[in-house]
C-alpha cells in the first residue's frame, strides 16, 4: 500500500472476478481490466494513474466482490507505517 494524500483505491486481487462493473460505473473512467490474472485466472482490474479519482466510491459500491474500496484523502487516518 502506497501512502499518499490523495484518494486511494484498493483492490483485493484474490477476490476480484473481473466482472468489470467498477470499470463501467466509474464516472471518471479510471479503471481498466489488466492482463494480470489472479490464481483463479480472472483478469484483475487496474487503475489509470493519470486520471482524477473523485472519491465517489461508485467502484466500491458496485463491486459484487467487496474487492475494491476507496479511502479518500480526507478520511485517511494517521498511521505509523507507510
Amino acid at each position: 500500500m502506497i501512502k499518499s494524500k490523495q484518494n486511494q483505491v484498493f483492490v483485493m486481487t484474490e477476490w476480484c472476478k473481473g466482472c468489470r462493473f467498477c470499470i463501467e460505473f466509474c464516472p471518471q473512467h479510471l479503471l481498466y481490466e489488466s492482463d494480470e490474472t489472479n490464481s483463479k485466472g480472472y483478469h484483475i482490474v487496474r487503475m489509470d494513474d493519470n486520471g482524477n479519482c473523485i472519491g465517489c466510491e461508485m467502484c466500491s459500491m458496485v463491486c459484487p466482490e467487496f474487492a475494491i474500496h476507496v479511502v479518500t484523502a480526507d478520511e485517511e487516518p494517521e498511521k505509523g507505517e507507510g
Partner: protein, 279 residues
C-alpha cells in the same frame, strides 16, 4: 495522481468488513452476478439506517440469493427453501425487539414460498423482505420460475417460457405490504436509500431488486455477461415513484419501471402492545 493499491494480506480494511464474514470470501457467486452488489447496498443501508446491527437478524431461504445469510456478519439464518418468511414470522413474534430482514430470491419467495409471502403481507408483519429477482432459479441451474418473462428461455423452457410471470411488487402490494419498491442492481444509490426506508418502516416492507444472473438467465437470453445485464438495467429503467405496481411489470424486453410504489400505514403485527408483553 491516484493510488491504486493492490493488496492481499496486509490490506486496508474494507468499510463493510465488520459486517461481512470475511473469512468466507471470495463468495460462491459467479463473476458478474449482482448479488454481491445488492448485499453491499443492504449493509450500507443498514449502517446508515441507525438501527443497532446487533438487533438485526437476517433470514434467508435457499438459492443463490439465500446464500447472503452466510456472508452477513449479523445473526443470520439460512433456512429451508420457501420458508424464510415463516421462520422470520416466528422469530419476530417471539422477539419483537428484533428487526427481522428476509433476504431471498424470487423463486424462494414467489414460487415455493408464495403462500408465506402473501400471508405475511396480509398480516402486515413488521419485517423487511428484500427479494432479489433474477428472473430464474439460479441455484439449481437456470430453470424458469414464476418471474421469468414470457417467451424467455431457460433450462426448462428452451423453446421459450409459455407461462405468464408474476409481477412481484404487485403481488406484495395486493397482499397487503405497506412499503413496496422496485429497483435494479444498477441503481446503486436508490436501492440503498430504499433499503433504509424499508428497514425503518413499521409493517411489512418489500423491496424487489432486479439482478443479473449472467450464468443462466443472461446467457440464455442474449445478455451473456453480468455487465451486459447491468448495462441493460441501467439504460432501460425509469423511476416512477407512486406508480401503480399492477401496471408496471418487470422483464428484460422493454422498460423497467422502478421506484417506490407503496408507502402507507396500516396496523401491523406484532403491534406495539405485543412488543410490551415480553412474557
Amino acid at each position: 495522481m491516484n493510488v491504486l493499491a493492490v493488496t492481499d494480506e496486509a490490506r486496508e480494511k474494507h468499510p463493510l468488513e465488520d459486517y461481512l464474514r470475511v473469512d468466507r470470501l471470495p463468495h460462491i457467486w459467479c463473476p458478474g452476478c449482482g448479488l454481491g452488489t445488492i448485499l453491499g447496498a443492504f449493509l450500507r443501508g443498514l449502517l446508515k439506517s441507525g438501527l443497532t446491527p446487533d438487533k438485526v437478524a437476517v433470514v434467508s431461504g435457499i438459492g443463490c440469493t439465500g446464500r447472503v445469510a452466510g456472508y452477513i456478519k449479523l445473526d443470520s439464518f439460512h433456512t429451508t427453501h420457501g420458508r424464510a418468511i415463516a421462520f422470520a414470522t416466528g422469530l419476530k413474534l417471539a422477539k419483537p425487539e428484533l428487526k427481522v430482514v428476509v433476504f431471498s430470491g424470487d423463486g424462494d419467495l414467489a414460487a415455493i414460498g408464495g403462500n408465506h409471502l402473501i400471508h405475511a403481507g396480509r398480516r402486515n408483519i413488521d419485517m423487511t423482505v428484500l427479494c432479489v429477482n433474477n428472473f430464474n432459479y439460479g441455484m439449481t441451474g437456470g430453470q424458469f420460475g414464476p418471474t421469468t418473462p414470457e417467451t424467455a428461455r431457460s433450462t426448462t423452457s428452451r423453446a421459450g417460457n409459455i407461462e405468464n410471470p408474476f409481477n412481484m411488487s404487485a403481488l406484495a402490494a395486493a397482499s397487503g405490504a405497506t412499503y413496496v419498491a422496485r429497483w435494479t442492481a444498477a441503481q446503486i444509490h436508490q436501492m440503498e436509500k430504499s433499503i433504509i426506508e424499508a428497514l425503518l418502516k413499521k409493517g411489512f416492507s418489500f423491496v424487489e431488486i432486479i439482478s443479473p444472473c449472467p450464468t443462466y438467465y443472461g446467457r440464455m437470453n442474449r445478455l451473456p455477461t453480468g455487465l451486459d445485464q447491468m448495462r441493460y438495467y441501467r439504460s432501460n429503467s425509469v423511476v416512477r415513484h407512486g406508480a401503480n405496481p399492477n401496471e408496471v411489470g418487470a422483464g428484460t424486453n422493454g422498460q423497467i419501471v422502478t421506484g417506490k410504489f407503496i408507502d402507507i400505514e396500516r396496523p401491523y403485527l406484532p403491534g406495539p402492545r405485543d412488543g410490551e408483553n415480553g412474557g
